[in-house]
């Protein structure tokens, strides 16, 4: 079964990069422009993995994760945070927020795909 990924980032460039890499890797990809858009698209996208940026207008990444993990219909879908920093405190913050893992930008295809495979439920 094809893995479905929902990528949430306000930067068109990053969205297109993610889409391009993930489609190449054989995943199904949906994109959203921020947390609000991500929440709206979630039910239809029904992703196996969510990738989200942190700095976004309207609803940032942490609020988005909060809405996914808490809220009325909490979900345990794996969430990878896109971050430009690999600082330990940022990782801790992401973990505290409920993120499954993180991807440090700039990413390359191999790293991105391996991160997704690491957290996704798929037949090995």
């Amino acid at each position: 079964m094809t893995l479905k990924v929902l990528a949430v980032d306000d930067s068109l460039t990053i969205r297109e990069l993610l889409r391009s890499c993930l489609v190449n890797a054989g995943f199904d990809v949906d994109v959203a422009v921020d947390g609000v858009d991500g929440l709206e698209k979630l039910p239809a996208a029904c992703p196996d993995v969510v990738i989200t940026d942190i700095n976004m207008p309207r609803m940032n990444g942490f609020e988005f994760i909060d809405a996914l993990r808490g809220g009325e219909n909490p979900t345990s879908v794996p969430i990878l945070v896109l971050t430009t920093e690999s600082a330990a405190e940022l990782k801790q913050k992401a973990r505290d927020a409920g993120a499954t893992g993180w991807i440090v930008k700039p990413f390359d295809e191999t790293k991105l795909v391996s991160a997704i495979r690491r957290v996704a439920n798929y037949a090995a």
Binding site: I14, L17, N55, R69, P74, P78, K91, N121
Partner: protein
């Protein structure tokens, strides 16, 4: 999308981001003057720089990444409330913004960047950067290095490897509740370990409570895992990086002599692994889903995150409204192809109407009615297509604020740029080609228009000089005004320079307007007094001609002591215009309707001879020069006006009115403008061409050039004194 396409997307996005950045900085600047700064505004600015950095990193644009990072770090200080955006800070931000624009452009054009150029502004930024973080961050954020926390494939080759005797690890792993809550899974981790070597996992169920006391969210299992691998320890630890702190974990090396089953038990080990992995996989997700009150829900709100969050929520309605307008990006070539085809359609429609008329189709017939409707639709299509190319002048105006900053920096004058009518839409090409002349005019306004600060104070003016940039639509044209509240044009000085440069005859008696217009004369570059700033080899004559090449005009209105207003008037589009179709010596030509004041058929008595062959016409007591268009174009020798001809009263940019003689007036219609330049070149007196209903080409007359060419201008001796045509 290929990488190249995405790269292009990145630079397109950069344009938007830089626009948002400039706008945001401007807003912060305005707000900080009033006190409170909107936090979403700061966030937006931060995000813009952050996004540029993120995208740049993907394309290994190291210079850009580095600079954006430095900029972002300081913006973050403002965002965190640690740095107040006072005027000094904003000054640095604006300069950093300008540098960022340059770096983006250099990266796009693949031009080399001298890192030294960044040094000054980076040093300024770093003054505001948090002291201890700066080093760490800069080191931490290198596009190549620590870009990923997982095992790096390259590391396999590095052989940081274990001692020879080491053959694996014994791992004790006990997940906490939140490990599952975060979407991690013991099974996935064990699977990841199995990619490093041979895994044997033993599940410890001793932690399982009695069924009746079992919590749905509880993580009760732990594992003892044996991993036979020659990977180094940090690779193994990296597998658990995501769950660091969310589990108990010990990793101990196993040495060769250790009594560990390896190959023999490999199969059963794997079987066991799967079996055990199944349990948490089924259990954990449901468990978390069923728990509305996860412990981590509170952990997600650290104190410092709470504030920006509420601010963001307040703004969300407004932001949502901003983003709802859906847009698509279209290759400009496609739009231009469409415009061309629609142009052909309009011509074709005109041809069809003409054919129908010639074929004797009456105006009351259905064919005629259908053709009328066709004409209407063609026009509507054309207008809609033109609207695609229209863009607000905002981006152009934003570029000008940088020019003002640079100019004020260079001259030491304090200047405030006020912009109005930024939403006014103009054809994209016009906007692009307006940038240079406008830049020059703005520099001029700051450099020559505004007085020095001391002088302003002396004259009882505000210390801050104002330059106002206004755009508006009026009567089918776009008007762009550059005004300053400076000293106004020093007419005495301008006249003196004009005489010195031989542009003006010393004996000429010039009106104020004529003196003001001298600054547009070729060769009038007041080099002696021009500073480095505006004296860059272009004079206002270049400004004028570049505006004229867009079908525009520029006029001056200067009041001594109060300042000057330069008004540029431009056609809405470069593709169509309203024209009057006239007959000139057997040739069909078009006169732009905007230039025509009225049409006359004077009696011979109303025409008076002046000198050796020049004619003037008396219109309501005014004597206006008459130009024989056919003779002016050399189609025939000059002839006196006959009453079978028609005069068009035409107004020029400089507000001169004169009469053009044509043989007949045919029609008034919208014409599609076709350039002559591409395949031929410039022609004096001809602005462009169009295609008529019969498929033939008609030339569009440049009435201003005709005036300059055909009227003796004693004041402006350099204006082709012998180009009088045959009419003299």
């Amino acid at each position: 999308m290929s990488t190249n396409d995405i790269r292009e997307t990145f630079f397109l996005e950069c344009e938007d981001l830089l626009e948002a950045l400039e706008e945001g900085l401007q807003d912060i600047n305005d707000q900080s003057a009033d006190g409170a700064v909107d936090s979403e505004c700061i966030n937006a600015v931060f995000r813009a720089v952050h996004s540029i950095k993120g995208g740049a990193g993907a394309f290994k644009l190291d210079e850009l990444v580095h600079f954006a990072h430095t900029f972002e770090t300081v913006l973050d200080e403002v965002r965190n409330g640690k740095l107040l955006p006072d005027s000094d800070v904003m000054g640095v931000f604006f300069r950093a913004n300008d540098r960022l624009v340059d770096l983006v452009n250099a990266a796009r054009d693949e031009e080399p960047v001298d890192p030294a150029d960044n040094a000054a502004i980076e040093a300024e930024l770093n003054k505001y950067a948090p002291a201890e973080e700066e080093e760490v961050d800069a080191g931490d954020y290198t596009p190549m290095g620590l870009s990923f926390d997982f095992e790096l494939p390259d590391l396999d080759d590095l052989d940081l490897g274990p001692a020879k005797t080491q053959i694996g690890y014994e791992i004790h792993f006990r997940p906490f509740d939140q490990l599952y809550g975060n979407g991690n899974d013991a099974a996935h981790l064990i699977r990841a370990l199995s990619e490093l070597g041979v895994v044997t996992a033993e599940v410890d169920t001793s932690g399982l409570p009695a069924f009746e006391t079992m919590r749905a969210t509880g993580a009760c299992l732990s594992w003892k895992i044996t991993l036979m691998t020659d990977e180094s320890e940090h690779v193994v630890l990296d597998v658990f990086d995501f769950v660091d702190g969310l589990c108990e974990l010990t990793v101990d090396p196993i040495y060769e002599e250790a009594d560990t089953p390896v190959d023999d038990d490999g199969d059963t080990g794997a079987g066991e692994e799967l079996e055990m992995a199944d349990f948490p996989e089924d259990d954990a997700p449901e468990a978390t889903a069923a728990a509305p009150d996860l412990p981590m829900a509170s952990a997600v709100e650290p104190a410092d995150a709470a504030e920006p969050r509420s601010a963001a929520k307040q703004e969300s309605g407004q932001a949502a409204a901003k983003t709802t307008k859906a847009t698509i990006r279209v290759d400009l070539e496609r739009v231009d192809r469409l415009i061309n085809v629609v142009g052909e359609l309009v011509i074709n429609q005109a041809m069809l109407s003409q054919c129908a008329k010639e074929a004797g189709v009456g105006s009351g017939t259905e064919i005629a009615a259908g053709l009328d409707e066709f004409k209407q639709l063609s026009r509507e299509i054309q207008e809609s297509v033109m609207a695609i190319r229209a863009q607000p002048v905002k981006s152009l105006f934003q570029r000008m604020s940088r020019i003002v900053r640079e100019a004020s920096h260079a001259t030491g004058k304090t200047v405030k740029l006020i912009t109005q009518g930024e939403a006014t839409e103009v054809d994209k090409t016009v906007i692009e080609r307006l940038a240079d002349p406008l830049t020059h005019m703005i520099r001029n306004a700051v450099d020559h228009g505004l007085e020095k600060t001391e002088k302003r104070l002396e004259n009882g003016k505000d210390k801050v000089g104002h330059v106002t940039l206004t755009a508006a639509h009026r009567s089918g044209r776009v008007f762009i005004e550059v005004s300053d509240d400076g000293a106004g044009i020093n007419r005495e000085r301008v006249l003196q320079i004009g005489i010195e440069k031989g542009i003006v005859d010393p004996s000429a008696d010039l009106s104020d307007t004529e003196i003001d217009n001298l600054i547009f004369a070729p060769g009038f570059s007041t080099a002696s007094e021009i500073s480095d700033l505006s004296g860059r080899g272009v004079g206002m004559d270049v400004v004028k001609s570049s505006i004229q090449s867009l079908g525009g005009r520029v006029t001056i209105n200067s009041t001594p002591g109060k300042g000057s207003v330069f008004t540029i008037s431009l056609p809405l589009t470069l593709a169509v215009m309203e024209g009057m179709v006239v007959q000139v010596a057997g040739q069909t030509m078009i006169v732009p309707l905007t230039a025509i004041v009225e049409t006359l058929r004077p009696e011979r008595e109303e025409i008076h001879m002046l000198g050796t062959g020049d004619e003037v016409v008396s219109v309501r007591g005014m004597f206006l020069p008459v130009v024989d268009l056919a003779a002016s174009f050399g189609y025939r020798s000059a002839q006196p006006y006959t009453s079978s001809q028609v005069l068009l009263l035409v107004n020029t940019d400089d507000d001169h009115t004169y009469a053009l003689t044509v043989d007949a007036i045919h029609d008034q219609r919208q014409v599609v403008i076709k350039g002559l330049k591409e395949n031929y070149g410039d022609l004096t007196g001809i602005a462009a061409a169009t295609i008529l209903g019969d498929g033939r080409i008609a030339l569009i007359i440049d009435t201003d050039a005709i005036y300059e060419q055909n009227t003796a201008q004693p004041t402006l001796m350099t204006y082709q004194p012998n180009a009088m045509g045959a009419s003299q």
